[in-house]
Amino acid sequence: MLILQILSLEPAHGYGIAQRLEQISRSVVQVNQGSLYPALHRLQQKGWLRGAWKQSETGREAKFYSLTPAGRRQLAVEKDSWARLSGAVNLIFEEGSR
């Protein structure tokens, strides 16, 4: 879901995603760089991502991943279920603090 969220803003290559993840994860969770690529390929296999070789900012060719329409729908679904889950958790916490 994190990968889908990052890619929903703009297409990015693997290293770019890793950097973004690192920025986020520095504060919250630790993401292993090694598990990034299997995840990317799994999402591509499911048809949620598509990959294309493009010039990167350094001038070398890199594989840029972007969301497919199906991926966008999946992101919406996951956001929705996450919101419901976190909403439920919040409710429980508020119940406890009261």
Partner: protein, 899 residues
């Protein structure tokens, strides 16, 4: 599925992943270095973070799930290793291809002739309605004959049936502008198409009003293929007039393309309503009202009834019906005994999703016998492959041992071996399918009549593909399982320690396999020998008359609109002109053709000192003077018919008959047959006033197995619906045909000559089923023999190779070469003997199943079985002798040095 395709583009996927990861790695190193990390440290950290090898492996697992990837690697490995040993691969592939090809070809026939349901709406609800018991009333046609009135009455039984149809197959002369041509047709009730649920491709089909009364509607529906072949698929066909037996008939439509009638063996060119019976079957009584049996009845059951329930439910109605039937016009006067049997009749309903077919009736037993034979053959092929795999497995013992030592699981190795055999089986299956199509085409040449041959398609259907695929899969599993299990069981340490001298891995299993192979092939060889003896026996016996230079053809003037008297005159005139032809030595006419399987038959009342009726139907025929001489049948007593006996219909006078030897032997033993009087039929009203004037030698009437009692009447008395001419010719049959054709054309240019053939051709045609059985079982037997000999040779070579050291030691200790030879041959002898011992009771049991297909031999004929066993044993010993000879020539020094 996408994953499966990934296998084929895995190289480009790998390249892409490499580039991607390289990019990541390089960027990381650059970033780390720009952050002040020294280069060597940066390289190390980037590599550790990424874990390149593991990432690659994980991504590969996503592309293809692990088991699929392993399986595909197995297949690739199998292909490579099989290509490395072409001899082994070719042997196994051919074994399987023959096994699968033969069973697929026979299955194709079984499927089309026996199993295939009609292409109609819900065929599984169709039932055949038949009469069990004494019909009393005569009929004409093939089997399961019923009358038209009972079909009409059954249509009222709507409690059980959604609809009832009746139909008969007939031959009619069709003319559409040109000369009339004989074609197969179906004469059907008005309900036919609606009950079957078959619609038109063009125009309309026959409907109830077309069949409302005699001559109600002279219409015809063409079959799709006849429309295409004869009318070039003309779009304006509906409404055209054609002549059917010279009666103007309107084409009202073309039936759906997939529909070929309800009989797989007789494909009709057109359908006409039963109301046209007078045009279609000239000279018959009022078939719509008389109880004459001439049609088959098919009914569509209501969904809430089974055939058995409907059958039980219909009996009360049927009991009433058969009483009513007795007062119908045309019902014969019968004795009280006969009447009792008639009233005990019942109605029988059998499921008939495949329709009605005399061809199925005559072919299903031979086809099942052949199908069983191909099953045995396939088993043999699988055993051979299993045996070869075991041999290969032992040869690969060290390779497998090494792989086990390196950590491969037993299951993994077993899977590898299974992949080998599956790959071979599927390749063999593909080859087999390629073989099956021409094989089916060749097989149809054996089918009894040309009508059946055209109905059988040799194209590979989806069903057939599924059958072949499943067979190959089963064959692969069966032949691969034993070796795979065996490989899994191998003990690691001992297999690594093993050196081609000790150890008997799989030898017991292989001996079992060879023993079974010997048993199976003996069964097939005995079967082949029996069928070949049946065929040669029948051919050697012949039809009981001299077929050399004999031709025959039929004329059916009644179908061209002749009145009975005119038809008789025409036949006489043509007969006289043919006798005068220089190409014809002698000629004669019979009312019914010989060797077609059918006959005119009836019980006969005999008046000697007492009056009695024959216990079975006598085969009857009307023949002209000179008929017996033309056939070369000897007159044993009395005289042939002559001009005195022939007289036009209606004139009275004494009538005469000739009977055959079998008739005399059965009914007139001990008395002089000449002067005995006969009457046709069995009723009390029959007057026996036909005097026997002669006795002829026996010859076959219906077919070559027929040895029935026969009686002959002069042909030129009463009305004759047609005639089959038999002519002894000079020169070639082509020249004779030319001159005979000329004669018939001069008499009536529109009269077609039907089935002009030499008698040799007819004899061989009537033996088609026997020839099919003999040829196929013969080739299956030979194939089985070869397969089992290969198997035996393989096992014995293996045994000898394994025992080389032992034999070497024996020889070194003073044993002679001959004793080594004995040692090995004894081994083979035990297997052969065990195989024969297994086969004999099987043959005795199976023999009962196909006894009816045999002639002149019993299934357990000792000479045949002994000869087959001797052939098999001789072949097997010869196959075992080669390795045995090698063993006896082992030099002790070489054998010991092998270590």
């Amino acid at each position: 599925m996408i994953r499966f395709f990934n296998w084929f583009r895995r190289r480009s996927l790998e390249r892409g992943l490499d580039r991607e990861l390289q990019y990541h790695y390089d960027r990381r190193v650059t970033d780390l270095m720009s952050a002040g990390v020294p280069q060597s440290e940066a390289l190390r950290r980037a590599a550790v973070e990424l874990g390149l090898a593991q990432v690659r492996e994980e991504v590969r697992d996503i592309w293809l799930t692990r088991w699929l990837r392993d399986f595909l690697y197995d297949l690739r490995f199998s292909t490579r290793s099989l290509l490395r040993s072409p001899g082994f691969t070719a042997t196994t592939l051919l074994s399987l291809a023959f096994g699968i090809g033969a069973s697929t070809a026979i299955y194709s026939l079984v499927d089309q002739v026996i199993l295939h349901a009609l292409p109609v709406r819900n065929p599984e609800r169709l039932v055949l309605v038949d009469w069990h018991g004494d019909h009393v009333v005569g009929g004409f046609g093939s089997y399961n004959l019923m009358s038209y009135p009972i079909c009409r009455d059954l249509q009222q039984q709507t409690r059980f049936f959604d609809g009832v149809l009746c139909r008969a197959e007939i031959l009619v002369n069709v003319a559409a502008g040109g000369d009339p041509k004989p074609v197969a047709a179906e004469i059907v009730s008005g309900s036919y198409f609606s009950v079957l649920g078959v619609g038109p491709a063009l125009g309309r089909v026959i409907e109830e009003p077309d069949d409302s009364g005699p001559g109600a509607s002279p219409v015809a529906v063409l079959s799709h293929s006849f429309w295409q072949a004869e009318f070039g698929g003309a779009a304006d066909i509906v409404g055209r007039k054609i002549l059917i037996n010279e009666h103007p008939t309107t084409v009202i439509g073309v039936a759906a393309a997939a529909f070929h009638g309800v009989d797989v063996g007789a494909v009709p060119a057109l359908w006409i309503p039963a109301s046209m019976y007078a045009a279609a079957l000239p000279g018959t009584e009022d078939l719509l009202r008389h109880p004459t049996r001439w049609m088959q009845i098919l009914a569509r059951l209501r969904p809430d009834f089974t055939a058995a329930q409907a059958q039980a439910g219909l009996q009360p109605w049927f009991q009433g019906w058969i009483r009513d039937n007795m007062v119908r016009p045309g019902f014969p006067i019968i004795s009280s005994d006969r009447r009792r049997r008639y009233l005990a009749s019942t109605l029988a309903l059998t499921s008939a999703p495949q329709g009605h077919s005399p061809m199925r009736r005559s072919l299903s037993q031979p086809l099942w016998v052949l199908f069983a034979a191909t099953g045995v053959l396939l088993c043999l092929a699988c055993m051979n492959v299993a045996g070869l795999f075991l041999a290969r497995g032992s040869a690969r013992g060290r390779e497998i041992g090494t792989r086990l030592a390196l950590g491969a699981s037993r299951g993994r190795i077993g899977r590898q071996l299974l992949a080998d055999s599956l790959l071979l089986a599927l390749a063999g299956g593909a080859l087999g399918i390629a073989l099956a199509s021409p094989a089916v085409r060749a097989l149809t040449a054996f089918l009894p009549d040309s009508g059946g041959a055209t109905a059988i398609r040799s194209a590979v259907s989806l069903r057939l593909l599924a059958f072949a695929f499943l067979t190959s899969l089963a064959a692969g599993l069966a032949s691969g399982l034993a070796p795979a299990l065996h490989a899994g069981r191998n003990d690691l340490i001992s297999s690594l320690r093993e050196r081609g001298g000790t150890g008997f891995g799989g030898i017991g299993l292989r001996k079992c396999i060879v023993t079974l192979q010997v048993a199976f092939s003996l069964i097939l060889v005995v079967g082949a020998a029996l069928f070949v003896r049946t065929l040669t026996g029948l051919l050697a016996k012949g039809p009981g008359f001299n077929t050399g230079h004999l031709v025959s053809f039929s004329l059916a003037p009644r179908k061209n609109g002749y009145s009975p008297a005119d038809a008789g005159r025409l036949i006489r005139r043509i007969d006289a002109e043919i006798r005068a032809l220089p190409t014809v030595r002698t000629s004669g006419i019979a009312r019914y053709a010989l060797l077609t399987g059918g006959s005119w038959n009836d019980p006969v009342t005999i008046q000697t000192g007492r009056r009695f009726v024959t216990d079975r139907d006598i085969n009857l025929n009307g023949v002209s003077p000179g008929f017996f001489a033309t056939l070369g049948v000897r007159i044993l007593d009395g005289r042939d018919f002559d001009a005195r006996d022939s007289r036009p219909a209606g004139e009275t006078g004494s009538r005469s008959a000739i009977v055959n030897q079998a008739f005399v032997k059965r009914y007139l033993a001990g008395i002089s047959p000449l002067g005995v009087r006969l009457g046709e039929g069995s009723g009390p009203d029959v007057t026996p006033d036909i005097v026997i004037v002669g006795v002829v030698g026996d010859f076959n009437y219906r077919g070559l197995r027929d040895d029935s009692a026969q009686a002959f009447f002069p042909i030129f008395e009463g009305d004759d619906s047609g005639a089959t001419f038999y002519a002894k010719i000079r020169g070639s049959s082509a020249e004779a045909f030319q001159s005979i054709h000329q004669v018939v054309r001069q008499a009536d240019p529109a009269l077609p000559i039907l089935s002009f053939r030499t008698l040799d051709e007819q004899v061989s045609r009537s033996l088609n089923t026997e020839r099919m059985l003999a040829a196929l079982s013969g080739s299956f037997g030979a194939l089985a023999l070869v397969l089992s000999l290969i198997g035996l040779y393989g096992v014995m070579s293996f045994v000898v190779a394994r025992r080389t050291r032992e034999i070497g030691i024996r020889l070194a200790l003073g044993a002679t070469g001959a004793s080594a030879l004995r040692l090995v041959l004894r081994d083979a002898g035990v297997m052969i003997a065990a195989g024969v011992a297994i086969a004999l009771p099987c043959i005795a049991a199976l023999g009962k199943l196909f006894q009816s297909q045999l002639y002149g031999v019993t299934a357990t004929d000792p000479a045949t079985v002994a000869a087959a066993a001797a052939i098999l044993a001789a072949g097997a010993l010869a196959a075992a002798f080669i390795p045995a000879w090698r063993a006896s020539n082992v030099s002790p020094m070489d054998a010991l040095r092998l270590e």
